[in-house]
């Protein structure tokens, strides 16, 4: 396969997309952990009663979905240019 700038860009975009999507998924998981507190993980993360949980859950979810979507766009970026 000829190594062109397009190919390098596509590979780089895919790598960044994977990283961003992974970050997004971890953020959504973190939001779930903060909200539902499975297996008592909040105590393990030193989240005390004064912690503004709903705000952080909202921020993490919004950030998470933006990151996942943006990452997916980079991963599925079309090779064809206009």
């Amino acid at each position: 396969m000829r190594i062109t700038i397009k190919v390098i860009r596509k590979a780089f975009a895919a790598a960044v997309g994977v990283a961003q999507s992974t970050m997004g998924m971890l953020a959504v998981i973190a939001a779930y952990i903060l909200h539902s507190d499975p297996f008592g993980l909040r105590a393990w993360l030193y989240v005390n009663t004064g912690f503004p949980v709903p705000l952080y859950v909202l921020v993490l979810i919004v950030f998470g979905f933006f990151s996942i979507t943006s990452g997916l766009f980079l991963i599925t970026e079309d090779e064809e240019s206009p």
């Binding site: 780089f12 980079l74 079309d78 240019s81």
Partner: protein, 497 residues
């Protein structure tokens, strides 16, 4: 697809779709938490409302006997966003239903071990969501491999089981429960809330409509099978509920209502028998729901509403593995939450909205295509579809008036998901390139702001102490967001997916 199935096959499809796992879970909260023994009336009401809605299904399935069901009808009537919304709602209802089925399996397994080994039961009970997730993963893998599912034999087995249950109830000489809600009229809100909550018990009948393309003489056989299924299901559910509330008093129970009732009627064997039946029903429903949600997603992908990657077929097994796995991830996430009452309402609301759209589609098609050949026409038109729409709205709002927090949570989540669905449709219309550039801009700003925040924290301008791990996480996030933002903004892919 060849039309090889006759009327009896169609009837069995309708019954096998209806008699499912829902009866093993939904009556619990309806009885113990919502309406008490008036829950029996709720089932009667639900059956009558279902019959009204099924008349519209009958007419539409007879006029448009194609694969796709509700999606096809709303597309024919309204096209565009309404069809997309109905497809998404149907998909969501399948996903919520599948999550509920997985949790019911775990619950019934827990009850089985309660009778056999209480020590093991306590472990199972505490880890119910994990067990549900494990079951989902196994069934998803089987679906990807193309394993065949258990069919109508379950219907005959369950009908026999319920017949034994009813006969035992009559033999037992149960005390007739007081089904009139008290006090009136306040007690009616609980009855309606229970009707909405238990409505998924009647949903499965539309499986018959989904298989319309395989049925011979569809214009006659489908309406007959739907109506006969409804007329069999209503007295069956009424009888089972009547016996159950007659032998189990109201109280604070952790065990499922039907299992408790069966144990009271058939000590030593009844509870175990129903636990096994519940597990079989749950597995069957879960396997079907995984396949249904995959089918809906692929249909919408074929029409261009969702990414084409969902149409991918496994090279070795020939199954739609991408759509199956993608939907199963959602099912796993919902099962991990573990809130049975929330999932019950969520599955119910999604389908009730679809029912309302189907009734509206009937009204529109009568005007838009009055000369469409209709082998069956809904009786007392337009009152039947209008009543179907009105009752759907009543079922949606009644749990809210009852003040049920599970219903409120499910409705709010549903509205949020609907907003996302509409946004997805709108973004698809706008085009991939513009969406990608917009996301790139947002990502760029997020990355720059986070980098700035990290710098301000490090220089002491913002009085927050960061651990080394948090610092590196923030830096990594900033770098990735900025790079992703730049790449998206400079993308050169104007095609929509």
């Amino acid at each position: 697809m060849r039309r090889e199935l006759g009327f009896s096959d169609a009837l069995m499809m309708g019954l096998s779709g209806s008699i499912g796992f829902e009866i093993f879970v939904l009556m619990d909260y309806a009885y113990f938490g919502l309406a008490g023994s008036s829950m029996v009336l709720s089932l009667l009401l639900g059956g009558l409302i279902n019959l009204l809605i099924m008349f519209s299904y009958c007419e539409l399935s007879a006029a448009i006997p194609k694969v796709g069901g509700e999606y096809t009808y709303t597309k024919a009537a309204y096209g565009g966003p309404v069809a997309f919304i109905s497809g998404c709602l149907r998909w969501l209802a399948s996903v919520f239903g599948a999550s509920l089925a997985a949790l019911v399996f775990a619950r019934q397994l827990s009850y089985l071990f309660l009778r056999v080994s209480p020590i093991v039961q306590s472990v199972i009970s505490a880890q119910a969501p994990l067990i549900a997730i494990a079951v989902i993963i196994i069934l998803t893998a089987l679906d990807v491999k193309g394993a065949r599912k258990v069919g109508p034999m379950i219907v005959i087995t369950f009908l026999a089981l319920f017949a034994i249950f009813l006969a035992s109830g009559l033999w037992h000489g149960l005390t007739p429960p007081d089904v009139i809600p008290k006090p009136l009229p306040e007690g009616l809100s609980g009855v309606f809330a229970a009707t909405a909550y238990m409505f998924p018990m009647f949903f499965g009948m539309r499986a018959l409509v989904a298989g319309a393309a395989q049925i011979k003489n569809a214009e006659k056989n489908i309406p007959r099978a739907i109506i006969l299924s409804a007329l069999v299901i209503m007295p069956l559910y009424f009888g089972v509920a009547y016996v159950a509330v007659g032998v189990v008093p109201l109280g604070d129970f952790d065990e499922p209502l039907l299992n408790l009732a069966a144990e009271n009627l058939l000590p030593g064997a009844g509870g175990i028998l129903f636990a096994i039946a519940g597990m079989v029903a749950s597995l069957s429903a879960l396997g079907t729901s995984i396949a249904v949600q995959s089918s809906i997603a692929r249909g919408m992908s074929r029409d261009g509403y969702l990414p084409k990657i969902l149409l991918s077929v496994h090279q070795r097994y020939g199954t739609p593995y991408v759509a199956t796995i993608a939907g199963s991830l959602f099912i796993i996430f919902l099962s991990a939450v573990g809130y049975v009452e929330f999932l019950g309402y969520a599955a119910s609301f999604g389908s009730i909205l679809v029912f309302a759209l189907v009734n509206l589609s009937l009204l529109r098609l009568r005007k838009k295509r009055p000369y469409l050949k209709r082998a069956f026409k809904a009786p007392l038109y337009p009152f039947t579809p209008i009543a179907g729409v009105v009752m759907s709205v009543v079922l949606l709002v009644s749990p809210i008036f009852f003040g049920d927090v599970n219903a409120i949570g499910a409705l709010m989540s549903g509205l949020g998901l609907m907003a996302m669905v509409l946004l997805t449709y709108y973004l698809r219309m706008v085009g991939r390139y513009r969406v990608q550039v917009a996301l790139g801009g947002i990502g760029l700003v997020m990355g720059i702001l986070t980098a700035l925040l990290t710098y301000l924290i490090e220089t002491g301008f913002v009085p927050i102490i960061l651990s080394p791990v948090s610092r590196y996480v923030l830096i990594f996030f900033s770098v990735v967001s900025i790079l992703a933002g730049l790449l998206n903004v400079t993308a050169r892919t104007p095609k929509i997916f």
